[in-house]
Symmetry: C2
Subunit: 310 residues, 2 copies
């Protein structure tokens, strides 16, 4: 007997992660029509949700300056939820104004202050203050926060190991902020932003999290920086985790993570293949997804880390 879930939800984040990363240094390298082509093709693979853009400062991340244009132009398959990310109230306002997007009322905190200072230019105190500001904005819009994200939850290139107690404290803080704005934390995504996790750490984190927050569904956003990504997914699945982010082809990376070389998300096709091999339903058409991985390689102009191509 194992603790595998019967079915998992995989959110495809490749367009957001990938085009943000691939365009760094040359924001015009990946053309708008090709971004749209990939998103539309992905929308036919069976995903419930695609994360397609980020609303971040176009001066800091010029390759995502076309976020609104993407939202305006795409014609996705019916019934697919399109989402974006944002790290402050300005981004949230832009996301609200973008057509076709579903806004998930969510909070984001970093578990590493050094990473927060580099990625969001914020101390822990400023990070918390921004989430309170966003919570007030959600509340003023009549939206109840139900989701939280913790970045750098498993380790940090600037700080090294991140204690699990700090991650738990950040979840508690998000739960308090959500409640203070009339919401209730129901979903938490722990992100291994810089690819530090190992499978036993995943198992331990899941066990401690589920013990402390039995009413919150845990999801994972895992990077494959050091090659342990799919082993980490397997460890999480065997602990019953049923919600993952992944990026087609293994697209992506974080331009602020201080890593050279491969640093992308776990490749969606590998996560889907693993699930199917384990008898876990995903609702995703693997053959169609592999074609999207090949398309992504054609668009970025180089091979991607994902290994399944037939």
């Amino acid at each position: 007997m194992t603790g595998f879930p019967q079915r998992v939800k995989i959110v495809e984040v490749g367009p957001r992660e990938g085009f943000q990363f691939e365009g760094s240094g040359d924001p015009l390298r990946i053309k708008l029509d090709r971004k749209i082509e990939l998103i539309e093709r992905l929308s036919h693979c069976g995903f419930q949700q695609l994360q397609i853009v980020s609303f971040v400062n176009p001066r800091a991340v010029p390759q995502m300056a076309d976020a609104e244009e993407i939202c305006h132009s795409i014609r996705p398959a019916a019934g697919v939820m399109l989402t974006g990310i944002y790290l402050n109230d300005t981004g949230l306002r832009r996301a609200l104004a973008a057509p076709g997007l579903t806004l998930i009322p969510e909070l984001v905190l970093s578990a590493s202050e050094s990473f927060a200072l580099r990625n969001q230019k914020r101390s822990f105190a400023q990070d918390e203050a921004m989430q309170r500001q966003m919570a007030a904005l959600y509340q003023s819009l009549g939206m109840k926060i139900d989701t939280g994200n913790i970045m750098a939850a498993f380790g940090c290139n600037y700080e090294g190991e991140i204690p699990l107690t700090r991650v738990i404290e950040k979840v508690e803080l998000m739960a308090e902020i959500a409640a203070s704005a009339g919401g209730k934390l129901r979903h938490v995504l722990l992100a291994d932003t810089m690819g530090w996790a190992n499978p036993e750490q995943i198992k331990n984190t899941v066990a401690v999290f589920n013990e402390r927050f039995p009413e919150i569904e845990l999801g994972l956003h895992l990077h494959d920086t050091r090659g342990l990504g799919i082993a980490n997914v397997y460890a999480a699945l065997s602990s019953g985790v049923a919600r993952f982010d992944a990026a087609v082809g293994g697209l992506g990376g974080c331009p602020f993570a201080g890593i050279t070389g491969a640093a992308g998300n776990v490749a969606t096709e590998e996560v889907v293949f693993l699930c199917h091999q384990l008898g876990i339903e995903t609702g995703i058409d693997l053959a169609a997804l592999i074609e999207c991985a090949k398309l992504a390689e054609d668009i970025v102009g180089h091979s991607l880390p994902g290994k399944i191509r037939t």
Copy 2:
């Protein structure tokens, strides 16, 4: 509590796997001195054993025609066991004549007849007959067979799934052949030659194998064709497996496996990193090994699948 071993033995097979695969189509592409450079550097990483060449038909695999020359020329670190592979009596006689090599008295059978027909040009009956011929040769040399290898033990691109009962039967056959030649099977390596294994299959195979052959040490030779390689290593480690083959950088693949695209072995640096993260000793200097992975990329002239580069 887990079933992790305290220490694992990792055999580096990159030079054999990699130069066999990389040179296909252009046997002179990888120069002899560069092969030697990589092997010598690898010999300083802490491996007990390096598998450096294969003694196969130079007409079928011209890129390995320099096997004897490699053995003549290398100056490895002291105390490192150098080995090669061979699939018939002719290869075994060449290996016996090569200087500096340690010969492991071993047998090799394929669990897939279709693969055996393509890779060794042999039916199951011919495969068995060849092993009996080699057993007689070992015996005439006073060498007692103690090791067996099963190729395509987890699945086959030509046959699909390989029943575990067949793998067990092949091990029984090898044990009988070994005994008939005065030997005793003490080590068996199951090879996922075409990258079909998944982590639960690994766990089940290990459990059934250990139940049936409690006196034989099981090792694994895993390919990462579909991205599950390191998850499979993790599953094996958690089942107590303490002996793995791996290839620096993820070099390699099998020219007869009918696969395009990435098909190499699990990357040694990822296996070592995983072990160290889990508190398992390997005796290997990870930093030195990562430098070898970079050297291997320089030698083959393209990036390799292994992800750890810092």
